[in-house]
Amino acid sequence: MFLGMFLLRKVAIALATMLAVSFLIFLALEVNVEDVAVKVLGQYSTVEQRAAWLAQNGYNDPFLLRYVRWLGQFVAGDWGMSTFFRAPVVDMVLPRLAASAILAGGALLVIVIFGLGLGVLAGMRPGSLLDRMISVFSVVTTSIPDFASAVFLSGIFVFWLGLLPGASTMISGLSLAELVLPVSVLGLYSMGYLARVTRASMVDVMGTHYIRTARLKGASMGRIVLRHALRNALITPVTVIMLQLPWLLSGVIVIEVFYAYKGFGTLLYDAALNQDIYLIEACAMISVLVVVLSQILSDLLYGWLNPRITLGARA
């Protein structure tokens, strides 16, 4: 009952956000029709060519009309033609998105396993040597820019030890060896934050009365952590994982460019370098959509994991 209302509310906010975002993107990229014509036809097109193209494609209509038409086409799946790749944008974005999902999925797996694991280990005995070491490790990994960790890790594993390939072009099909470095760099950058959140949450739970009772009862440390502490300590971190997605998406762009991985990130990057306006619009819309959806998912997950709160109160 409550859940339905909550979901409806969240979806309404998400729709409003997407509407505002689409307007911003369209405003930024297409308010100046002369610029659009130059970007589509190239710098060496003549003034007459541009004027003819603008008239032919409805660019002489008022801005708001153009926006509504563009939005309608976007929702219907007509995302225009890429001016650089000379192909429909929609056919290019979706496969690249799938390729990036493999990369991001692998990174998420690394983040979840190591972030939660290290956080729980550190939070079990706050102030211990292990706790300090894990804290330093997570500060270091989250502070180093991802392109720099990519350089460092490639320096060690590609040039020095010669264990892994230095590029992830996936020319001969999906290769796990080529995934190791990009996934590790992405995971390394984000796992520190999750580890810190998990640690804080774990420290809180370990200080509660019911844990003290378990301890006084004589339960072993392993039993206390696994049976009693974890269930409550993991509520916040699990929600945080979903909120990491926007960061992961930014990281994916850098890492894909670094390792020449043919995913969504390199597509957006190529689009930016070539001023490929319709491709940029679609990529920006899709990446915001991913973020907004992940936020809804995160809220739902939180409510589902934590029956004590009523969903309406948190919105």
Binding site: V139, S250, V254, F258, A272
Partner: protein
Amino acid sequence: MFVPYLKKPLVLIGGGLALGWLLVAIFAPLIAPYDPLQTLQPLAKPMVAGAKGELFLFGTDMLGRDIFSRLVWGARTVVIYSTLATLTAYAFGLLFGLIAGYAGGRTDAVLSFLANVVLSFPVLVLYIVIIVVIGASPVNIVIAVTFSSAPAIYRIVRGITIDVASRDFVKAAVTQGESTLRILFVDILPNTTGPLAVDFCLRLGYTAITIGTLGFLGLGLPPPTPDWGGMVNEGRAMAIAFPHLVIFPCIAISSLTLGLSLLADGLREVNDAKERHA
């Protein structure tokens, strides 16, 4: 007042790294042995004497420019633009955060919605869109950083303002008939400095990372400006044969951003301890 901060090793190490780079940036002309833009000898390896007996500490790049000198001047670039961009982001974030937190109601709802809209972009996607629209120049990079950081600062300031505005001394100021401006900037603003100092250090680090990342993607400060991220980008293609092209700029930017987050961590620990005592 500052004594508890100086007892923390985190503050000392982090502050030392950050201060070190600040000094390098200030005294760049004295420290750098060569002109960062001058062609001397292409692709000299580190610590190997050049043809005329010059010493290239970190080697030279493919255009023959001394990497050590470029790093030193690059410190100036990153310090100037990160600080400038973070400060302008703070100016907007503070202003709107104070207004929204104090006014509440419809003003708050509209501003918060706008902040959420901007924050729902993955940061790098937002930068790319902005840079594509307005081009890559020093001023435009400051604008791009401001646009994307201000909403996050706005959120923090708004939260603190709502909290502080409900306290008795603010109510007393209202009763006394103080002007809204005075209440915002004299009564409320000083109470935000603790959490904001921590956020400022972190954000300075993020901004340095952002400027570095934009440089790495070739969307940052236009060449030949000495810029750490740009140096990695230029050296990337030849990094297999000449790792010194990319390793040193990466160490430089990592040490700066690590220093800033250690500093932020230390400040936070001290602030938390203060709050527990208070």
